[in-house]
Symmetry: C2
Subunit: 324 residues, 2 copies
Amino acid sequence: MTTESATALAHQLTAGSVAALARAITLAESSRADHAAITRELLTEVLPATGRSQRIGITGAPGVGKSTLIDTLGVLLTGLGLRIAVLAIDPSSVRTGGAILGDQARMSGLNADPQVFLRGSASGRTTGGIGPGTRESILLCEAAGFDVVIVESVGVGQSETAIADVVDVVIALIQPGAGDDLQGMKRGLLELAEIVVVTKADGADVDRARHTAGDYRRGMRLFAPRSPQWVPRVLTCSAHTGEGCADVWAAVVEHQQCLTDAGERLQRRAEQRQAWFTAAVADGLRARFHADPDRAALLSQLSDGVRAGQLLPTVAALRALTSA
Amino acid sequence: MTTESATALAHQLTAGSVAALARAITLAESSRADHAAITRELLTEVLPATGRSQRIGITGAPGVGKSTLIDTLGVLLTGLGLRIAVLAIDPSSVRTGGAILGDQARMSGLNADPQVFLRGSASGRTTGGIGPGTRESILLCEAAGFDVVIVESVGVGQSETAIADVVDVVIALIQPGAGDDLQGMKRGLLELAEIVVVTKADGADVDRARHTAGDYRRGMRLFAPRSPQWVPRVLTCSAHTGEGCADVWAAVVEHQQCLTDAGERLQRRAEQRQAWFTAAVADGLRARFHADPDRAALLSQLSDGVRAGQLLPTVAALRALTSA
């Protein structure tokens, strides 16, 4: 694809073409250098058209009900005339190859709706609960005119807290439980979530869900909130009966208003951009450094010595840095 | 200092000289390249004599009672015939210049004891709740024969969770509080703490302290523990009456035994060494990259554009990486 076609793609994208959006995200997720170059060019062209959506992260263990909540929210939001894009990050290791199709099939309420864009991405190449190109994909969805961008992440893995670095608000989903049955959220996530939702609050589980919500409401008082402006909200909902789903959306809107009024929303986004830049520079330096196969072998050998405790880490680092 | 004197210092250190230890830590904390070289040499010589201590992190807000607990623990441990070293990391910004002397004066019970080494370090040059040379200082204390190394950190700042990267167990200290009075721990810290101690459980505050401990005990069930082997312990103590301090130590010993039995203690230390190596390489690459004053100016300018949202972070990164 040439510069001209990047410009053409930019035009289609800002005209709201979902097909163009799908192609652009494929480019953004590609590991090929030429695709990365087109993506940079495309994003630079559409940059003025980005930044206007509500960026929402939804995270929780597999089976907690992320897709069904998103489905219900999607119906609600499209009913309000909003266009909604869903980027589902799925660690390829966790499910079988066809992960996303399964997800899309489950989100049946949404799939039929032209106001809705659904996209599954394997997070294979990166860790942290976001995938390669997630940041770019959010911008692309915004350029295509989507009002709400939801990043859905399975809250597993080592550093799944990265989702908080790309969205305005993290919603953590929890199963109802009682006493020792509580699954316990992955470390780090609970402290980043500004809205916690206990799912499956229906039928025989309503009381358990309310009890769990109370536990989390009390528990979340134990650590300082992320923002001085916002006391984390703990809600219950049933994607089955629909009850509580409107409250989840109301909390998102209230959160955005609250942080916007305090100037914190724009501040956070500026910090996220800065962090993205810093990480991109560090990644580039590391990639360049590791590109030499001899050095890659040396690094691996030094690493073994360090792990075994035979080599001081700073000595190993010096040897790596001074290697030809 | 020449190679020869690094060797001499290594001999004095492994002979248990506290004066040599103090000098070695000064070298380790220095930002001078020649001092860093001596430190590497010295540590390489004494490496076989390291690794044998219990490394304990104690963290909590200013005024929570870290120093008094450490004082009481120190008297207890020296009574058991153990040698104890305390590295107090003090963000220089938080207190006045003479921070450490104040700390040492407060730890009066310890100061008189030759079995005890006290060292204050300003964390001025690094963030993360540990200072420059903290990792090296721990190794130096071990080489000098100390059985217990306590890293005391004020749990403030952006990424104070770094203390967990250098010790075997983090003890988080909390004030007694009730209901909305709860201070709330800094984000991240609570989830890394495997022992939580509610301080000042004496006099009129005993009930409040017990109540607070109950709150934290329930609250900590809400997220998955750091280790599958260890359910975080929540204790109360009074450094004033001494009550509960022995239990804190018993919990530390039990924690160590538990993780040692599971093979997790050595595993964690290997991962900490690996992380130190990785960070040292990344720091070196960044330092080299930023060393050119023209590039430093360019980075600052690019950063402004990125923060303002006028420049795509990946485009800015590419410009930085391809700058001459």
